[in-house]
């Protein structure tokens, strides 16, 4: 029986394992050193916040793995010997494979800041980081203040977590406005305001210079390039992640920043594949980045590769881009491409609407020449994935999207709807006179 070994039990590796099992009877082994069982990394924050216990982040009960004959090994792979098709484990012993899937995910970035390895300085990525945070910042008596460095999704999550324990947070963001490398300025501004509403000390356009140690080798303050010294007990480093591939450096597997793969997720070595955060496409797919460190893409690569492994060779061919996040109390969803001012295409034009009082807004992106709909960002309004996916496939115009926007609303029943308001703003801005179509189940559930 062919033996498939997967390094990494995150969403990519586990998706691959599940789908290989669905479609075949191959022997499957997952090796991970982080945890015994698969858990949802995105849910770690809720454990610290007391919304859930760690066990709730595990999507499958513990018997699942044995029942589905997916062997789990808790171990750390130090070496991949692809000539002999075997792995060397740090704990001792070797593991032979017929096909190898590398799905080792990411590790937090550290940019060589002085003091970055002091006690009390940590990232938020692994299960172990959660435990460390529980020790470093159990309450506001032990941790009088925390400084977070890096204004991305993990940074704001860490800030939200600490705030729930009434720990004062200073949030250093390199950009002039929160996440404005990704979000258009209106949306970025909305999040800036929302961060302030939560009494988080947001410092924009500010960089970390040094983390200062006390006599015990613990962080006691940071200094910034604005000349400020901020006393603190915990420093959160959340300046992005990069592929976790150091153990492969001498293996002969081609590496860039991540493991180089082709569209079939194959590396330069036969029978060795890479998926998820650690995989790097030779050439980016469409507007995507060569390395996509996103939950959904990890899952999709796992689904795709499972087909290939089971004799149904498929290329990784993701559909329309989508993503989501939550900034404190504000849910964010995106479908298609809406670039920030920094990354905007020359043909791209935006329509931005923001509610007068509530923290709700949308940005619709379209081609200024052809009026083709390109994408939408929504804050505080839920939208229907299937509808936008269909409209993008059908290459609908932005006027059409506006006209049928009610079909796309996914907010719970009885929620106030804003399509009318959005549409009149659109009509006013672009001189159109579109009237909104009533929501239609027939259209929403039509399959073509």
């Amino acid at each position: 029986m062919e033996h498939i070994v997967i390094i990494g039990n995150g969403i990519a590796g586990v998706s691959a394992a599940r789908h290989i099992r669905k479609n075949s009877d191959k022997k499957i082994t997952i090796v991970s050193t982080e945890t015994e069982y698969f858990f949802s990394r995105t849910a770690l924050m809720y454990v610290y916040m007391g919304h859930m216990k760690f066990e709730h982040t595990q999507p499958y009960e513990n018997w699942f793995w044995k029942k589905n004959r997916i062997d789990l090994i808790k171990g750390f792979v130090t070496k991949v010997d692809h000539q002999n098709k075997k792995l060397v484990l740090k704990e001792g012993g070797e593991l032979a494979y017929d096909k190898l899937i590398i799905a080792t995910g990411s590790k937090p970035n550290k940019f060589g800041w002085p003091g970055q390895d002091l006690k009390g300085v940590q990232g938020l990525y692994h299960r172990q980081d959660l435990e460390q945070l529980e020790a470093n910042a159990p309450n506001n008596k032990v941790c009088n203040r925390a400084v977070i460095v890096g204004g991305g999704l993990i940074g704001i999550e860490l800030a939200e977590m600490l705030v729930t324990r009434n720990i004062p947070v200073t949030f250093l963001v390199r950009e002039t406005s929160f996440w404005n490398g990704v979000l258009p300025k209106g949306e970025s501004a909305l999040i800036n305001e929302h961060i302030a509403e939560h009494h988080i000390d947001l410092r924009l356009a500010t960089n970390l210079v040094e983390i200062i140690s006390d006599e015990n080798g613990r962080a006691k303050a940071v200094t910034t390039d604005k000349g400020d010294t901020i006393e603190c007990n915990v420093v959160g480093l959340t300046a992005g992640v990069s592929p976790n591939v150091d153990f492969l450096k001498a293996s002969g597997i081609e590496l860039g920043r991540g493991v180089k793969v082709n569209r079939f997720l194959e590396t330069n070595i036969p029978d060795v594949y890479a998926i998820g955060d650690c995989a790097e496409q030779h050439e980016a797919i469409g507007n995507r980045r060569p390395i996509e460190a996103v939950w959904y893409t990890g899952r999709m690569m796992g689904e795709t590769l499972a087909q290939t492994i089971c004799g149904n060779r498929r290329s990784y061919n993701p559909g329309h881009w989508f993503n989501s996040a939550k900034f404190l109390d504000i849910e964010y969803q995106t479908y298609g491409w809406v670039f920030s001012e920094r990354g905007m295409k020359e043909y791209e034009q935006h329509f931005h609407w923001r509610h007068a009082t509530e923290k709700i807004c949308i940005t619709v992106s379209f081609d200024k020449n052809t009026k083709k709909f390109l994408g939408i960002n929504t804050f505080g309004i839920r939208m229907r994935h299937t509808i936008f996916d269909r409209w993008l496939t059908e290459e609908r115009g932005v006027d059409y999207v506006m006209e049928y926007l009610k079909d796309a609303n996914f907010d719970p029943e009885f929620y106030k709807v804003y399509e009318g308001e959005i549409l009149s703003a659109y009509n006013a801005e672009f001189g159109t006179s579109i009237t909104p179509k009533k929501k239609s189940w027939k259209r929403i559930f039509s399959t073509t």
Binding site: H19, A43, G50, E331, R382
Partner: protein, 527 residues
């Protein structure tokens, strides 16, 4: 703000302590005239032995606490009945249960401070409880911060993480229900507190079920305030809470009491068979048939409600229209029980137990009712060698009292707030069939947006592993879902939506989720 909360907590606990002490304190003394009147009214004058024993040991004497009075009455009753049976004087046997006899005698013999100061005592128990609880709850408008899901610290607090506070509440609730169902004589002092309210509604002094009904409404109202604050960003939760509160106060509490005042049968128009398991019991049918037009109307309505209204409404809206919008059990679970919703077990094992248990109770309820109707129309007491009344009594005790009451609510703090609705309610089982096989209701999963975080599953009170469906891109169509909407509320990525749509495509098993290559999707999904 914190200080207000703490003061509120103390006031609440004082009220609760007085309420808790009431069953075992107070003075009881029945005088000759009252006793004679009772003997006539309740027909126990026929048993001279009982009257004699009571005269000797009880009448005219003063007792401190019902626990002093109770054994004497019980003994008098049991001895008298035993002697009468031995002498074959069956007509003199009193069939009132000892506990009920103690209750009714106790109710007439209360004397002293509690009985003379009903209003004040109401304030010291219910009043302090309400004021204290509101002082504890209202500051959350500010303390919870910006509107949004705030489940912070639920798993850090003893009360909501099965800690010692939760166990204390568990013991309190179980004890309360045991008194209510099995030792109502200890509730006599509680009935005095609400006598004025009962008299103003039905014209009668309060019994222990009135205490329960009134308390139910008070608890739901106070905890609904908590719901309004906690889910103030979520209109669905606000509307649903209002609905369930309205049906409890108006339909379950006020209308039946007012009907009694108007000489009509006591009836809760929304309580559908088989949850209302004694609807077809002989005494009920007889009482309805003897109540003229309104009785007949209730009889027809009760049948139409179960056979037509319930399934039709479930077809259009799912079983949520009943279980989390109308039902009293659901109403308490969604208000008092909300802080405990996360304790329902999500394991596959629990699901297996659930399916056997709830459908077992449905079979039991239907079987019992068929026996009852057969007995009614053929005028026999036995069906297939089983005594109908014993089967009814078994159901009333085991399901009606122990399961629905003691376990159903008493177990909230440890096992979650829908123990009864999930594992026991025969009506929920029936609604579940309709919901699963023929209904427009589903929880739609939003394409491929699920991140498997587990908030939905954690906060599902019915123990549904919502995530298991959502992460596969499948809609959630489960017979047990009561449509409370909390999975959708706690989802951080906008993945879940409760909606009533077309039947076609409602159940949508997928192998590869939206977002991945379209051809591949077609390939595997059509296989």
């Amino acid at each position: 703000m914190k200080a207000i909360k703490n003061i509120g907590l103390v006031i609440f606990l004082v009220g609760l302590a007085i309420f808790t002490a009431l069953p075992v304190i107070g003075t009881f003394k029945i005088d000759q005239a009252t006793f004679d009147q009772m003997a006539q009214d309740q027909g126990f004058a026929k048993s001279e032995l009982f009257v004699e024993a009571m005269q000797k040991n009880v009448v005219g004497k003063e007792f401190q606490g019902i626990q002093q009075l109770s054994p004497l009455v019980t003994e008098a009753l049991e001895t008298a009945n035993a002697t009468n049976k031995k002498n074959k004087a069956y007509k003199k046997v009193i069939y009132t249960k000892p506990n009920d006899m103690v209750s009714s005698i106790g109710k007439k013999s209360g004397a002293g401070y509690i009985v003379e100061n009903k209003g004040l005592m109401w304030f010291l128990t219910f009043g302090l409880g309400i004021i204290g609880a509101l002082m504890f709850i209202l500051p959350n408008v500010i303390l919870l911060g910006k509107k949004g899901i705030k489940n912070n610290g639920i798993y850090h607090e003893s009360a909501t993480n099965q800690g010692w506070i939760a166990w204390m509440v568990f013991i309190f609730l179980v004890a309360f229900y045991v008194i209510l169902y099995f030792a109502p004589q200890y509730a006599v002092n509680w009935t005095y507190l609400v006598d004025p309210i009962s008299e103003s509604l039905s014209g009668n002094p309060a019994g222990h079920w009135f205490v329960y009904g009134f308390m139910y409404c008070v608890v739901m109202t106070v905890m609904a305030v908590r719901m309004y604050i906690k889910y103030r960003h979520n209109v669905y939760q606000m509307v649903r809470t209002t609905s369930v509160l309205f049906f409890q106060i108006v339909f379950a509490f006020l209308i039946p009491e007012i009907m009694v005042r108007l000489q009509m049968p006591y009836y809760d128009f929304k309580n559908a068979f088989p949850l209302d398991y004694d609807f077809f019991f002989q005494w009920n049918i007889k009482s309805l048939m003897n109540s003229g037009g309104i009785g007949l109307f209730i009889l027809v309505w009760g049948i139409v409600l179960t056979l037509v209204v319930v399934p039709v409404m479930v077809y259009f809206f799912g079983k949520r229209w009943y279980c989390s919008w109308v039902c009293g059990c659901g109403g308490l679970a969604e208000t008092l029980g909300d802080p405990y919703r996360q304790h329902s077990s999500k394991s596959l094992f629990s699901w297996k137990i659930e399916r056997w248990l709830i459908h077992g109770v449905l079979v039991f309820a239907v079987g019992m009712t068929l026996m009852t109707l057969y007995s009614f129309f053929t005028d026999t007491g036995m069906v297939l060698g089983l005594k109908t009344s014993s089967v009814q009594n078994t159901y009333s005790t085991m399901i009606g009292a122990v399961f629905a009451g003691v376990i159903g609510t008493g177990f909230y703090p440890i096992f979650g707030n829908r123990m009864w609705c999930r594992f026991g309610c025969p009506l929920a089982a029936y609604l579940g069939f309709v919901q699963r096989f023929k209904s427009r209701f589903r929880i739609t999963t939003n394409g491929g947006q699920c991140i498997s975080c587990g908030n939905c599953s954690t906060y599902c009170e019915q123990g549904i592993d919502v995530r298991a469906y959502a992460q596969k891109g499948e809609n959630i169509v489960r017979s047990s879902c009561v449509g409370c909407g909390v999975c959708s509320a706690v989802c951080p990525r906008g993945v879940l939506k409760l909606e009533n749509g077309p039947l076609e495509g409602r159940i949508n098993p997928t192998e590869v989720l939206l977002g991945n290559d379209v051809d591949l999707m077609d390939l595997v999904n059509k296989k």
